[in-house]
């Protein structure tokens, strides 16, 4: 059963079309991430699911119920805001009680719900404090607690971690994942951070300019991005894009790109070649981790190319190197032990089985 179904949702602010026909669906218990750059309409979509924004056209179902005209309080949802939106004049306990009081939940039920959630989130010691007396991380917990005391059909999160510092963000990410595993509620989670989306979600909707670019499982999105936007947005450092031309090399289909010593031939795998369908010009995409030093950890489909190393950026666990390929820069991800040094010209091996080919005109995956 689907807990949330969104059909052809559109949203206009005046003359500006912010959402251009969104279709999504979340199965019961699923964790859906909406990810995309700032301003792509994620928060607007979430606010429409919550009932805080009007719907220009389209349909939203929560469970089996069409909720287009249902007030936020009657939608059976709970929401965590980026700003936390804790009521500043109330204690943590009162913050958590407020929603239950509004709904007329019996006192003893309120008490047990707060006790249960406070234990779950380990915020028992904070119950008598005001939000102003809490640290950022504690506020974040309380904001989640306020959502958890209810037993809604749907949890909505709008960038709940983006106000935390980097370390805490990673800790809370793990915590949210554990929490979702335990509570098992359908969740829609908005973030601009692709790593958060990848780590948390069972399915990711990548949004750009008011449209869903791709809606699929994290690994599928990572391995077979639907278009160059998704390919570039998901993954850090980004996928390398190299313009090339399809040629035949001794009867084998290959892509020819500009190298340091003139045109270089990169032989394609059979499955890539089969999908080409007559394309002549392509964009050859390869992720930094599929760029290695030729001869190291050798696999089957390796194409080699020589490139001078321009910048080397060690991060400890791995070393990034920026290399020049014609008028293009490409990034490679190396084991520090075998990382190149600046100024050196090395022979790279591209793992062709993980390469992606895009149509230069439509920018879609071939």
């Amino acid at each position: 059963m689907a807990s949330l179904t969104i059909r052809n949702i559109r949203k206009n602010f005046g003359a500006v079309e912010v959402l251009k026909g969104i279709d999504l669906e979340a199965r019961t218990g699923e964790f859906i991430a909406l990810v995309g750059p700032s301003g792509c309409g994620k928060s607007t979509l979430l606010a429409m699911i919550a009932g805080l924004e009007t719907i220009t056209s389209g349909e939203i179902y929560i469970g089996d119920r069409l909720v287009n005209a249902v007030a936020p309080k009657d939608r059976d949802i709970a929401m965590v805001f980026q700003s936390y939106a804790l009521y500043p004049t109330m204690t943590v306990r009162e913050n958590m009680e407020f929603g239950m009081q509004s709904r007329g939940v019996p006192k003893d039920e309120q008490k047990s719900a707060i006790a249960r959630v406070a234990a779950l989130l380990q915020i028992e010691a904070l119950l008598h404090r005001k939000p102003g007396q809490l640290s950022g991380g504690q506020r974040q917990r309380v904001a989640m607690g306020r959502a958890l005391v209810r037993d809604p059909l749907l949890f909505l999160f709008d960038e709940p971690l983006s106000n935390l510092d980097a370390k805490l963000r990673v800790d809370m990410r793990t915590e949210i994942k554990k929490l979702h595993h335990r509570v098992g509620k359908t969740t829609v989670y908005v973030t601009h951070d692709q790593i958060e989306a990848m780590t948390l979600a069972s399915r990711i909707a990548v949004m750009h300019q008011g449209e869903v670019q791709q809606f699929d499982e994290p690994q599928v999105i990572y391995d077979s991005p639907a278009n160059m936007f998704v390919a570039g947005f998901m993954g850090s450092p980004s996928m390398n894009f190299i313009p090339g031309e399809i040629v035949s090399d001794n009867g084998r289909t290959a892509v020819q790109v500009k190298g340091v010593d003139g045109p270089t031939i990169l032989p394609l795998t059979a499955s890539h070649a089969a999908r080409l369908n007559g394309s002549k010009q392509v964009i050859f995409g390869i992720r930094p981790e599929h760029v290695s030093r030729s001869g190291i950890g050798q696999k089957a489909d390796i194409a080699t190319i020589r490139a001078p190393v321009e910048v080397v950026e060690p991060t400890g666990a791995e070393t990034m190197a920026v290399m020049r390929l014609g008028d293009q820069e490409i990034t490679g991800r190396f084991d520090p032990d075998v990382a190149p040094v600046m100024g050196e010209t090395i022979t790279l091996g591209f793992d062709m089985s993980h390469a992606c080919l895009f149509d230069p005109a439509s920018r879609r995956l071939i």
Binding site: A50, L52, M79, F98
Partner: protein, 300 residues
């Protein structure tokens, strides 16, 4: 040796800087003292005169150090002095003003809070236009509305009554109270209202459970502003009401233009001070909150 010379220079420099600092302080405090005196002396003159005897005032002039001390002018001014043929002193007018200022302040402040809440948190198509229209009231001089008010109060049977003045001050005050509250409430994050709506709270519950508890700073500002404004208002009081229905400001003027030739400076001084006392008290007790409220945002 070189070190010693070096230290010497520093010492001389330091002394010079120190002297400059002291001089600048003396100048600043001197100027401040002079200005304070300029502001406070009229008050002293009035206070002194309310305790001096009339012969002494006429002999030594209005501005002079008191030679005598007498309390008689105060009870006189309060309960027996004749103003416009009514010999009950200021008390009736004082209570008129109290009866006018308290309801008018409370009602106009609550309406302002309500309007501010709607215009900042429940915007609707046209709400900005309504706000702009209300703002016009801030810039409109009271005289413009004088005749319409006289007409309206006559029509609804509230002419020459304290209730009429309450109505006038409530309506005239809404522009200011709405502006104050609305500008304060826009700094309260909208997310609070959204969270509360999801939590199942409606328009009123959000207002008194979330917005009002955040409001004391601005409510204090608004109350002080309205209280002093309405208490000190003179024009409506003197034009719309007459006789024993006038507020204290109007009565004070009647007192100073009394028919007799003798200027009763002692009683007049006491009467002025009685009239000035309530706003002064409000300022003494609320002044620091007033300044704080004007400079503070909703959420620290």
């Amino acid at each position: 040796m070189a070190e010693a010379v070096y230290t010497g220079t520093i010492d001389r420099e330091a002394t010079r800087a120190n002297t400059r600092y002291i001089i600048s302080r003396v100048v600043i405090y001197g100027l401040l003292a002079i200005f304070s005196l300029v502001y406070i002396i009229p008050l002293f003159v009035v206070v002194f005169n309310s305790f001096r005897t009339l012969p002494e005032i006429s002999q030594n002039g209005l501005i002079a150090f008191p030679q005598s001390f007498r309390l008689d002018a105060w009870p006189d001014a309060w309960s027996t002095f004749c103003i416009g043929g009514n010999c009950e002193g200021m008390q009736k007018y004082f209570w008129n003003s109290v009866k006018m200022v308290i309801p008018a302040t409370i009602i106009s402040t609550l309406l302002g809070a309500m309007n501010g809440y709607i215009l900042s948190k429940w915007k609707f198509p046209g709400s900005e236009i309504i706000f702009t229209c209300m703002l016009l009231g801030v810039f409109m001089p009271g005289q413009i509305a004088l005749l319409p008010w006289a007409f309206i109060l006559g029509k609804i049977g509230l002419a020459n009554s304290v209730y009429g003045l309450i109505l006038v001050h409530c309506i005239q005050g809404i522009s200011f109270t709405t502006l104050f509250c609305r500008n304060y409430y826009v700094s309260i994050p909208d997310d609070l209202v959204k969270a509360a709506r999801i939590d199942g709270a409606g328009f009123w519950r959000i207002f008194y459970k979330i917005i009002l508890p955040l409001s004391p700073p601005i409510l204090i500002v608004t109350v002080i502003w309205q209280f002093t404004g309405i208490w000190n208002e003179y024009l409506y009081g003197v034009v719309l009401n007459s006789g024993t229905n006038q507020p204290i400001t109007a009565a004070l003027v009647a007192l100073s233009t009394n028919g007799t030739n003798v200027r009763v400076y002692d009683v007049m001084s006491a009467a002025v001070l009685i009239g000035a006392l309530p706003p002064l008290l409000v300022y003494f007790f609320g002044g620091k909150y007033f300044v704080r409220g004007l400079t503070q945002g909703a959420i620290k």
